[in-house]
Symmetry: C2
Subunit: 221 residues, 2 copies
Amino acid sequence: MDKPKSQHITKFETKVNRVEREALNGHKGVTVWFTGLSASGKSTIAVLVDQMLAARGARSYVLDGDNIRHGLNRDLGFSPADRAENIRRIGEVARLFTQAGIINLTAFISPYREDRDRNRSIQDPGDFVEVFVDSPLEVCERRDPRGLYRLAREGKIPEFTGISAPYEPPLHPDLVLYTDRESEEESAATLVAYLEEHGYLWGGAARGKERAAAGKRASGR
Amino acid sequence: MDKPKSQHITKFETKVNRVEREALNGHKGVTVWFTGLSASGKSTIAVLVDQMLAARGARSYVLDGDNIRHGLNRDLGFSPADRAENIRRIGEVARLFTQAGIINLTAFISPYREDRDRNRSIQDPGDFVEVFVDSPLEVCERRDPRGLYRLAREGKIPEFTGISAPYEPPLHPDLVLYTDRESEEESAATLVAYLEEHGYLWGGAARGKERAAAGKRASGR
């Protein structure tokens, strides 16, 4: 990595380390980076996984267009440079969540390999799980839940991924979800199983539910 | 707030809401925004509070120069515009951590009222606790653990807060810590007591320790 512009900044070790946080949480911190066409199912699956993880007491959070484009990246448009910066910043925020021990799920088209690979490269090995939500363009376009493909075909949205801008599928994704052949619930379950099998998640559902109940009692809510 | 440049982005409700996350955690998500001169004790207190919170099973995370300036904001320098953008982005990341139910502690000089007030304004009422780490310039300059004040006096660091650039103390901070009169440990304890008294933290230390022990057993670490 090139050096940051900042000078006179001392490396500062936070004394609560990741192993402690992860032991407390019952799971590792990890970025689950979804990539795929618009309407392929990224956000829906991310939210379903978030729910499943919360139900078992895991700490998770979804980063998506809503909480990023209206906030951190509200100054960015859709020029090539701004798109790259958009994905770069999301990758950096994802890294912070991972360091904080959170299972963070990012739901962005992120069409360029270079941008995704850079976001993997800033994290420690194993901390970045690339999930390719693979659904053919014609299926996504048929779904078109927000009418974006129609607008893109009419030329009303320029540089729309799959129509007037390229999508570069991952060459070596950690997991592929075929959302044209299975339900979003099935895809979500596949992903949670992947996290268990690869040692990101341990502990059982029962403890999570007990914790949630204990928290509700204590808070009086 | 002005409208974001982004178009065609639908508001997307993540289905795990904050009340559920907070019940699970035994505390609210909140941004604890430290402000004060260089060497006033911000980072040290933030790390101590982080440790105290982790020991009782709370989810916390420190955002500081290390993990922000070397990552998310590595493209920013120290021009007035870049300094403002630095603090803006940190405020947005802090908001995301708050929404994720994490007690996030930000340790930055953040010398301008306008920048801090904007970061408060993007969060819900009560979600932003401004902590003024109040230590006189002469005390901070005498400490000078990294020799920055000396370099600033020698003109080797331009626009250094307190020497060649202004510091605007908060007009209505939520909490003031007088680090020239008490130890950093005392200040940290004062802050944790504040979080308890104001309903940000509930539940006891015992449960947190039990959880940590359970997590360690399950993970085999």
